[in-house]
Symmetry: D2
Subunit: 326 residues, 4 copies
């Protein structure tokens, strides 16, 4: 590369006008500046738009960290309903929190500096600055374990994959704001690869102890594998938006490399870093060595809080989709 | 609290003698200084010693992040063999890497700044600064999928829990340095709650396509739940050492609160932080609100790299255990 | 506090409409959700608005990290010109980069993954994903050292405080987009407490070796102290917006506690954390013990990238200021 | 590079023997494993040893973050006295804390979870989990401002550089454990480039108001520049150990590139990361583009808590220095 190749474009300093500015207009300023987090967010918006507009691309959204209770429940449900995303892979806990609201419970605005033992005595659980009550969990435990017998019976006691199990629950919900309901209605696969590690595990344990039938509902840990493999291998192109990381990110990347030649688009939003060697913080460069993400893929990793960055991206996306394509 | 209660003890500045100093002697200096990371590591060593010495305490070790390929394989296998820990909960990937070595493969010292596309063309995978070859994965794929028919047959095609499945593998291994083998020999439960999210998932998929029997090996996602619940409820006291976080940490904490009144000892080593609301970075204070960790528990969270901090703790522990108890 | 006091307000899930949404409308959604980073950013916007609207509040803006070259030069210059902020305390390097552009140089959009030795051979310097050329530094070195004789002569060789020195430079600039020029024109004090640690130090060294007069320009390290103390003690209320941390944050907090009873408003945007004990990551709670920030102050710390968060805050502020006050 | 070049060396898993293990023996295990933080710490120890053993290398130690009050005061003073390091560049606050103890004050082991307003009322200041009392600050204020008249008089009211000022203080101290005293006794330059941003600034302000002489003590912000430049240019080789980052790191790097062709050895211990573009988190690769660190330099950046990592390095160094060279 010649010297001038490194010096092609100036940083254009952002100018915030005194008048009303839309989210996407601000993202355009981020793009013109192009550095540090602003540049990465702008790139993330471009890639997100491209994968959503690409009719031959299957878009995987991965969900980790307590972002559903924290305020992104509707954002995610709407993305499913509007078919901006085709497949969702989530931690089970996020769907537990979706169901807590579907069963009439709530999440409360709390604070991160409180006396946790006082909360304990009040049967209030804390997730950073969110509060949830024990009674809302009990409501979920009761409502969901009741469904289990029915689901087992309806499926002739055949082992289910996690997404089949999720759809069975969604079928029985009424809350239109529920992510699980939205996945069921749109037949969007919603995989929970670590389903056992959540309140689902506890509810299963309760259900098991008092099940009416000897033939228990069974969830096969591996059954979903062939399904996600099929989705990946039957797609022309693969896109991924990672919220947080963890098992959901790994699951999608693994499917992309084993069933297909890797992802074509990838956006990761995380606060995790590469140095300690965990998957969540691993760079997109590293994924190239595995073939999980293609060398030629459009890809970016934003170091930031999902609750700040992802709504920005979705607002920018919707504004762009109202306009003509790039 | 009176003013003097805040001013009880001076920071004793560390003094590094020019002569030979043992790891535990350095930890004693950390303890005397008592601040920032040094203070937390010293406290972690004290709590680790206490839970190991406490004959009525069940010690859970949780393993996440690629720490087995990075050099802690023997450390963990030895802790199991010496029965310093009673239960292990791990990401499946760490056990995949244990098995790669058990099947004759290797991990190589690499670098984090390389051209990943070159690695890709050479069929070398990168985990931060570790390299693994595709052929070592293929060796694992072949070796392990061969075991699957046999395991299914030996168990009369009954669905297995993840720890039963792990023991079945361990039974068939010869490598004495293997964590999986050590768990089998000592009958230490080794749970993999997200087993599907790993090369196990891919190998299962391979096996499924060419299985000799129609009755496939099946792993029940929920079957292990009652087992870990029983272990917790049958213990007088519960201790936990978290390496990294993720699903393994959540699984242990969840068992501790649902089967028992929470953990009595807890040490967490992580680089994750609380602000984004993920479980891995959540504070030990937050866990009190849930009852996952007791208010009165001895507990500490060390912000640091597991590869640095945990060997320090183990070396200090072994040195202490050679002496008379506190 | 009673149980119900913890459960006063639900998390309202964000809804991103398909139509055009302004930045401030999105911030209102952040506010309604109220959790994790979104809640903190919303609070930061509220506090920023309040301190700017408060006619008896002196607003200090502190600038650290390479945010001026990265695209915030105009944002900061505009805040000064519009008198949204009353005092600026900055790392010297940020003003060096302001001057590089004032002297006709540029910052270029680069990348964080390049061969740095190639850049070295091309005399291109890298700041994460920004490139700057040596010739633009040389232009600055020449232009600025020429000013030094003149500044020394104009001030009768009296030692200057850093803000006086900055104004002397600003007086001699023509670039209306320059932060230094804006500070001079509006007589906004712009302190550089660590001025020596920057290209200013090198330029001084050059100047010193070839100065025409024996009486050198002199900058008194301590002279600015009484000035910032006077500003603080003559203000009814004090507000602070910290971009990054470092010496600038410490300087403002120290003035607030020694000249006054602490800050009344404080917003901090940083990626630094408290555990290692550095000032930049220290919590706002910690500052209460010192009296640097009042217990009753409106205050929030946002964990995030300044390039993402601060433009959001400024866009929200300007939109709000166009409307009637709260 | 050929395929086999990437696969030269296995990860040797650490083995913690049950018997006594010295710190340096553990570091050797880190070296054999060679990955993640362990590998970086082992490399840091090797480089530190080399630069200390290299008789033609000037070793710069940079000090930031509140590590002196946290327990490293003696470690640093001993490194100076043993002439392991040749130049120290520090934040002023660390030397303020050194002087607090030299004037008979103390730092106390505290906690990070306390009611800071209670501390405020008790006139106790908090630095993460360290407590300091107001009376110990007052003792410092009184003792130090008394010295100022004397120092001004002894220097005929000539402006001082920061290291000259520090030596003048050191000359008047009796505490043999003081870093400032050690620097004076060994004539080790100890630069405080941001001296004004600390209690020194406040004490100067006090002194100024009641000074007996009209001719005030004056510290010239730029005077030290030529001194550090001379040290660098008169050295055959340059080494740097960075504790934390900030102004001290920048000062040394800047001198290395302007007076010399960059550093030959560099070890950085920090928790800061590159993504937000701040100097403290910038990579050693980035410094190559500037010429601050040579491409051929031996260099490593450890992501970790200085209070954990640096004592390990010093203990390992001293153990090695007792043996014959590599």
């Amino acid at each position: 590369m010649k010297r001038e190749d490194f010096l092609r474009e100036y940083v254009s300093h952002m100018k915030i006008e005194s008048t009303t500015m839309t989210v996407n207009q601000l993202i355009q300023k981020f793009d013109a500046a192009g550095c540090f987090g602003a540049g990465r967010v702008a790139t993330a918006c471009d890639i997100f738009e491209k994968m959503v507009r690409d009719k031959n691309c299957t878009v995987f959204l991965t969900v980790a960290g307590a972002i559903v209770p924290a305020g992104l429940r509707t954002v995610i449900a709407d993305l499913i309903r509007k078919r901006r995303v085709d497949v969702v892979v989530s931690t089970a806990a996020n769907m537990v929190h979706d169901l807590i609201e579907a069963f009439g419970g709530h999440h409360y605005k709390g604070h991160w500096l409180v006396d946790d033992f006082t909360l304990y005595k009040y049967h209030i659980y804390r997730i950073y600055d969110i509060f949830v009550t024990e009674e809302d969990y009990l409501k979920l435990d009761a409502g969901l374990s009741d469904m289990f017998d029915e689901i087992a019976r309806d499926n002739n006691n055949q082992p289910l994959a996690t997404h089949e199990f999720v759809w069975e629950i969604g079928k029985r919900l009424k809350d239109p704001n529920s992510i699980v309901r939205a996945a069921y209605e749109t037949k969007t696969p919603l995989f929970l690869p670590a389903i056992r590690d959540s309140e689902f595990g506890f509810i299963y344990w309760l259900y098991q102890q008092r099940a009416k039938s000897k033939q228990l509902l069974q969830v096969d840990a591996f059954k979903e594998v062939s399904e996600i493999m099929n989705i990946a291998s039957n797609s022309d192109r693969l896109g991924m938006v990672v919220l947080g990381g963890g098992v959901p990110r790994n699951t999608v990347q693994h499917a992309a490399v084993t069933a297909k030649r890797g992802l074509d688009y990838a956006v990761i939003i995380t606060m995790d870093r590469p140095e300690t060697g965990g998957l969540s913080g691993s760079t997109l460069e590293e994924t190239i060595s595995w073939g999980k993400v293609k060398r030629t893929a459009e890809k970016v990793m934003v170091i930031g809080d999902v609750l700040i960055v992802f709504p920005l991206m979705v607002a920018s996306l919707e504004e762009r989709l109202n306009k003509k394509p790039l």
